[in-house]
């Protein structure tokens, strides 16, 4: 088989784009897991919800408000969608997850699984499963850029850059700021941190809201690339789980690196052996489980 250098590079870039989404989502899962000790099964559903807030804001909100010409534009969606979804997350944490901290952690997984089904079910009723395209891509991000070695869609380049930026800012906020140090201390020993006068329950609530908001953000960024569909979240979350198992949930940087490299591996597989592109991450997971069961960056329990 003839492999052109450019084709490989193109797929690597597309893979990097996917990988950036994996990175943001697994980052959110890791942050939530660190403090709440639950795996947020609804993470994929919140990613989908983020994309839908952008879509609804662009197409349906105007007519609903009686202003048919009004479209919530892309830039506003980038800000509003994570906020709306983050608030929903805060509400869910306050009313439901809070009651589960004293019981087995698996109940948190089951509760969020139920929430994911509810969200997916609701949107399946109103939107096409095969997807609706989001047309609110701003003028400035249309077209292609010449990267010397290839022509690359401007929006994809923007989405890679933006996602990486968000990953870096999150890493910086958690690992290098005072607020982040509270968070890390809370992960290690919440009781002691509370004794020092930090409002741990509030911190937990905000962390969940933040993690969920990150997922929604990824959803908005993904909306113009993939068609917005009710099942985009459940497809995503299973892959992201595999990413999390491969990377382990020990470190923020670990999640980012694992997400990016697995996205690129997936892209590479698309060139070398296309039928395996869907499953290569899962096979990678099996390999890692055999060699290093705690994950690449994980701590042995």
């Amino acid at each position: 088989m003839h492999l052109s250098y450019q084709m490989v590079l193109a797929q690597l870039m597309l893979g990097l784009n996917n990988g950036a989404f994996y990175a943001i989502l697994s980052l959110g899962l890791a942050v939530i897991f660190g403090l709440l000790n639950i795996i947020n099964f609804a993470h994929g559903a919140f990613y989908m919800l983020g994309a839908f807030v952008a879509l609804i804001g662009y197409t349906k909100l105007g007519p609903l408000l009686g202003m048919p010409d009004f479209h919530m534009n892309y830039w506003a969606a980038l800000l509003i969608s994570p906020l709306v979804v983050g608030l929903l997350g805060v509400l869910i944490e306050k009313t439901m997850l809070k009651r589960l901290y004293k019981v087995d952690h698996l109940y948190g997984l089951l509760l969020t699984f139920g929430l994911a089904l509810i969200l997916q079910g609701i949107f399946t009723n109103y939107f096409n499963v095969s997807g609706t395209s989001y047309n609110g891509k701003p003028e400035i991000l249309r077209g292609v850029v010449n990267l010397k070695f290839m022509m690359f869609p401007t929006y994809r380049l923007w989405s890679i850059g933006l996602s990486l930026g968000v990953c870096f800012v999150t890493w910086f906020a958690i690992e290098r700021t005072k607020l982040g140090s509270y968070l890390r201390a809370g992960t290690e020993n919440p009781g002691l941190v509370q004794a020092f006068g930090v409002n741990v329950p509030l911190m937990i609530t905000l962390t969940y809201g933040f993690g969920v908001g990150l997922a929604a953000f990824a959803g908005v960024v993904a909306a113009p690339i993939y068609s917005v569909s009710p099942i985009m979240g459940s497809e995503m979350i299973i892959t992201v789980f595999a990413v999390v198992v491969i990377g382990g949930m020990g470190s923020i940087m670990g999640s980012i690196w694992t997400g990016l490299s697995l996205g690129m591996l997936e892209g590479l597989t698309k060139v070398i052996y296309p039928p395996a592109a869907n499953t290569v991450i899962f096979f990678m997971m099996i390999l890692v489980l055999l060699i290093k069961p705690a994950g690449l960056f994980g701590k042995e329990q």
Binding site: L119, I122, N125, S234, I238, N278
Partner: protein, 321 residues
């Protein structure tokens, strides 16, 4: 207590014998298949404390294998179910080796991801019929003698009695194996592992090997359920291997009562009945299932049978005082 138990089992057995005359037989068979599936799942999650999110792989995997063999090689149904069971057991062994070393949340995520691999294989490989699934699987001749496809007409009502008693026998056998396993010394050790794994290790039990055994047993019987289902509905489809089914079996077990003998049966009956009653609602069924999950986890963690047992226990304590 034992005499009460014996009466209960006898009553349930008799109910199972007359059920096809009271209800639509295919519906009862569906109930039995899912009940067996939930009981098998309960052995792993309720008694060993390992939450599998990938049991659809065994259920659906066995359905495909049995369906393919019965349809294309003329295997008799009882051998088909047996081969499906063994194949699911093999898959369980492979899953088990990969997952047993990780616990809790990781265990759930890994089983889900592995089941997704099985889903993709079912979607892509040539023998599964892709999106259409395997259709028109023959019901065949039991032991080469009794036609399971035969329909009796009693009082103008079509009854697939041969098939029904075949399915009922499979269910009873599977249920009996699970009941035996739970009440054996092996089952006691599994409960000990669930309650306190480090202590079980320090007592000298080979915990990983026992967990693997529980996984293989659970996977095999989940396979039995899936294989039987493919004979009853004459269909093996992608739905059977999808994560929806893995989620549903969790709900059945949770709703009926995790770690109780009859809980999964009650839960499976409830969920399957609910689904067939609500089938007109389309994808709102998913919302209902999700909401049931949420309510169950928040307010009803013992499940139906668990609550009843708790009431009996409290009454017994009060009585003794």
């Amino acid at each position: 207590m034992t005499s009460v138990n014996r009466k209960l089992w006898t009553a349930l057995f008799l109910l199972g014998m007359v059920a096809p005359f009271l209800l639509y037989p295919v519906f009862v068979m569906q109930l039995l298949c899912f009940a067996l599936f939930a009981c098998a799942f309960n052995l792993l999650t309720g008694y060993t404390g390992l939450l599998s999110f990938g049991h659809a792989a065994f259920f659906g995997g066995a359905a495909y294998i049995t369906g393919y063999l019965v349809k294309n090689t003329g295997l008799t149904p009882e051998l088909g179910v047996l081969v499906g069971t063994l194949a699911a057991g093999m898959m369980g062994y492979i899953f088990g080796i990969l997952t047993i070393r990780r616990q809790g949340i990781y265990f759930a995520m890994i089983t889900l991801a592995l089941a997704q691999v099985v889903f993709f294989i079912a979607l892509k490989s040539p023998f599964t019929g892709g999106e259409d699934g395997l259709q028109d699987i023959p019901r065949g001749m039991f032991l080469g003698l009794i036609d399971l496809g035969h329909t009796y007409h009693i009082a103008g009502k079509p009854l697939e009695l041969n098939l029904y008693y075949f399915v009922f026998a499979v269910f009873c056998l599977g249920f009996w194996i699970i009941h035996r396993a739970i009440h054996s010394p092996f089952g006691q050790v599994l409960k000990a592992i669930r309650e306190n794994e480090p202590r079980a290790i320090s007592l000298g039990y080979k915990v990983e090997r026992l967990k693997l055994l529980a996984f293989v047993l659970s996977a095999s019987l989940a396979g039995t359920a899936g294989a039987t289902k493919s004979i009853v509905f004459q269909l093996a489809s992608l739905t059977d291997v999808s994560w929806h089914i893995s989620g549903e079996v969790i709900l059945m077990t949770l709703l009926g009562g995790l770690g109780t003998v009859l809980g999964p049966v009650v839960g499976a009956f409830t969920v399957v009945t609910l689904q067939s009653e609500l089938s007109a609602l389309g994808s709102w069924v998913m919302v209902v299932i999700g909401a049931t999950f949420v309510v169950c986890v928040l307010a009803f963690r013992r499940g139906f049978v668990g609550e009843v047992l708790e009431k009996i226990r409290i009454r017994a304590i009060k009585h003794n005082e």
